[in-house]
């Protein structure tokens, strides 16, 4: 009898262990977003314009160079920082000045941000300026977006595809 009891209690221990494993392998559930919210993810990887225009070397300058380095145009390697701005229903959501990467500042600027926003119809405006020589030149996209709860809207700047993409 005592033996049976022990076996039964052992079974209870095994069951408790199985219960523990089974439970925490699923629960408690996790809510990645509060109810009724959506998410905007801003992602940028973009090389700004060179800080200075390319320049023609004068014949005198060319002559001063070793023969194998006599290239007529001289360009700066350094890139402009990239300025981004997001506006949400007319109010500023985010603004940043992103420095170029790389030791000599000749690489792309990049950024990644996530914003939790209420679901529904909203007006989103994205702006990017990438040249210190032409600060007025701003690449922008403004759109009405309909975000159902849980929607992740990716806001990406793709220079090769003509600019901002809302996806």
């Amino acid at each position: 009898m005592a033996r049976l009891w022990r076996i039964a209690l052992q079974a209870v221990c095994y069951a408790a262990c199985a219960g523990l494993i089974g439970y925490f392998s699923l629960l408690p559930s996790y809510r990645p977003l509060p109810a009724g919210q959506a998410m905007v993810k801003l992602t940028i990887r973009h090389a700004g314009q060179p800080v200075a225009e390319c320049r023609q070397r004068s014949p005198a300058e060319l002559a001063a160079l070793p023969p194998n380095m006599r290239v007529a145009t001289q360009c700066a390697r350094e890139r402009s920082p990239v300025t981004v701005r997001l506006e949400w229903d007319g109010a500023p959501l985010y603004q940043a000045v992103l420095p170029p990467s790389g030791l000599s500042g000749d690489g792309a600027a990049s950024d990644y941000r996530r914003f939790v926003v209420p679901a529904g119809m909203h007006r989103l405006r994205a702006e990017l300026a990438d040249s210190v020589r032409e600060p007025r030149r701003v690449d922008r996209l403004a759109e009405e977006v309909r975000l159902e709860p849980g929607r992740v809207l990716v806001v990406d700047y793709r220079g090769e595809q003509g600019g901002w993409v809302f996806r």
Binding site: A18, S29, P32, Y112, V152
Partner: protein, 518 residues
């Protein structure tokens, strides 16, 4: 101290389990071995899953779903794979806690401890990596989380995340990489598990059969009752309202979003650093280690055989005596358990030398002292059923048993007692000998109880000679003082019934010896 309180609580739980499972099947005493068992289950079932897994962007989720629908085979393999992985985290973390609470993280054990730390990282990395393969909404959620976390490091340039943002950004090649990692990381884990047990001899890497059977049955029932399921296919542009997380592996992701990538790195780094320095904080002064006395050593190698920490090596003899080998103790490995002294054939109290020098001895508790204390105690034993009890400083104390008919001695480890001492005590007036040690083979020095049992049963050298009647020796593996008292009382009752029967050792051998008492 908190640790001592927690240890007491743990010991109470362990004693409860001892009663229920029997000490040798107590899962608490098999946590490392159980972790190994779970690893093998995960590896075996993983192989099956690997065969049926489709390493493409669209095929991954589909192939896992197809497996899952075969509940009796593919689904079962999947569920076993998941639950054994979960169980491995559970036993690993409990194993860590237990070794910590028992203080088994410093001194010579630093190596086992330190090599345990990367196992944590590798186990979690393997598991998280596994959850990517399903490529469901959960997989995408943790892929994004992992990328956000890794992007915090300057190493990745902050652009890893761009691979996971839109449905177009991933390729089939990515899944080949994931599968490669999911084989590679567990292989490194296995290698490190092997390294982890390198400094101990005869590590327990297999739980006892009955416990293994029960554990596997438990996994099987759980897998059939609650089959592992995928969530909907990954969709980078939608987050599900709720995610069912496997908290054994994925706790880090909610943490990532409550803290920040930097915060989680800080926590992980601090936790790892804390575990990493633990062996060296509040370090107790090192114990004197075993000392070899070549003049009493014949090079038999028993100390080498029995050392639980592989601290003794046999090398070519260098003292000119006609033996091939001599033992050498590596002080960095020696845990000061004295098991080698108990193994040495020179440790016999019958030798008629004034000072009992043995081949390998413990400076803090020389074998000669053991004999002297025994010799002082034997004549003082009074009454019926006189008992000499030897125990261990790390277990229930035999010294606490002292009363007119009982003498108790606590050694560095139960395995330190040379069997000839048992015979010596019985020949010199003791009616019986009680050997005390920790229950469930859960010896502080891992092998002390096992060697004692084998020596007493004449299955191991040096063995207890057949001239000592078996009924006069009792072994008590206990973790509770009350239990030990009960054992002693029962033993003495038994001895009383033997009193009148003729003792098979009629006359003690009288040894004439000069002793200098200091």
């Amino acid at each position: 101290m908190v640790r001592e309180q927690a240890l007491k609580a743990l010991q109470r739980v362990e004693q409860g389990f001892d009663r229920l499972f029997g000490a040798s099947l107590n899962p608490w005493r098999q946590l490392g071995a159980l972790s190994f068992l779970f690893f093998w289950v995960v590896a075996g079932t993983g192989l099956v899953l690997f065969i049926f897994f489709d390493t493409s962007l669209t095929g991954a989720h589909r192939s896992v779903e197809a497996l899952t629908r075969q509940w009796y085979w593919g689904g079962l393999m999947r569920s076993l794979h998941r639950y054994a992985s979960d169980a491995m985290v559970l036993t690993m973390v409990l194993h860590l806690l237990r070794e910590f609470l028992y203080g088994r993280y410093r001194g010579v054990r630093w190596f086992s401890w330190i090599t345990g730390v990367p196992l944590l990282w590798l186990v979690f990395a393997s598991g998280i990596n596994g959850y990517w393969l399903v490529w469901d909404q959960l997989a995408h959620f943790i892929a994004v989380g992992t990328a956000e976390w890794l992007d915090w490091l300057p190493l990745f340039g902050g652009v890893m995340i761009r691979n996971f943002l839109t449905p177009e950004s991933l390729s089939d090649r990515f899944f080949s990489l994931l599968v490669f990692l999911h084989v590679g990381i567990p292989l490194i884990l296995l290698l490190m598990m092997w390294v982890h047990i390198q400094r101990i001899s005869r590590p327990k890497t297999n739980p006892p059969r009955l416990l293994a059977g029960g554990t596997l049955a438990m996994l099987l029932v759980l897998s059939l009752a609650l089959p592992a399921q995928s969530q909907l296919p990954a969709d980078p542009l939608h987050l599900p309202e709720v995610l069912q997380l496997d908290w054994f592996y994925l706790y880090a992701f909610p943490l990532l979003y409550t803290l920040s990538p930097g915060g989680l790195w800080g926590l992980a780094a601090a936790g790892t650093a804390l575990l990493g320095v633990l062996p060296w904080v509040g370090r107790r002064p090192p114990q004197p280690v075993a000392e070899v006395h070549l003049e009493s050593c014949n090079g038999c190698g028993r100390c080498f055989e029995d050392c639980p920490y592989a601290a003794v090596v046999m090398q070519p003899r260098a003292d000119g005596r006609p033996f091939q080998l001599q033992p050498v103790v590596n002080a960095d490995l020696c845990a000061a358990c004295g098991i080698c002294a108990g193994a040495c054939p020179s440790s016999t109290p019958f030798r008629s030398v004034a000072s009992l020098a043995t081949g390998i001895d413990m400076p803090q508790m020389p074998i000669d002292d053991l004999r002297e204390r025994l010799e002082q105690a034997l004549p003082r034993l009074a009454g019926e059923a006189k008992v000499v009890a030897w125990g261990c400083r790390h277990g229930v104390r035999a010294e606490d048993l002292a009363e007119p008919g009982v003498a108790g001695f606590d050694l560095l480890c139960a395995g330190m007692l040379p069997p000839s001492f048992v015979e010596y005590a019985v020949r010199h007036g003791a009616d019986g000998v009680l050997l005390v040690g920790c229950a469930g083979g859960d010896c502080e020095f891992r092998l002390g109880c096992r060697w004692t049992e084998e020596r007493m049963a004449a299955q191991r050298e040096p063995h207890l000679r057949g001239t000592v009647p078996a009924e006069r020796v009792r072994i008590a593996w206990v973790n509770d003082a009350g239990e030990l008292r009960a054992e002693l009382a029962a033993f003495r009752e038994r001895l009383k019934t033997l009193q009148n029967a003729s003792r098979s050792i009629a006359e003690p051998i009288v040894i004439r010896r000069e002793r200098r008492h200091g």
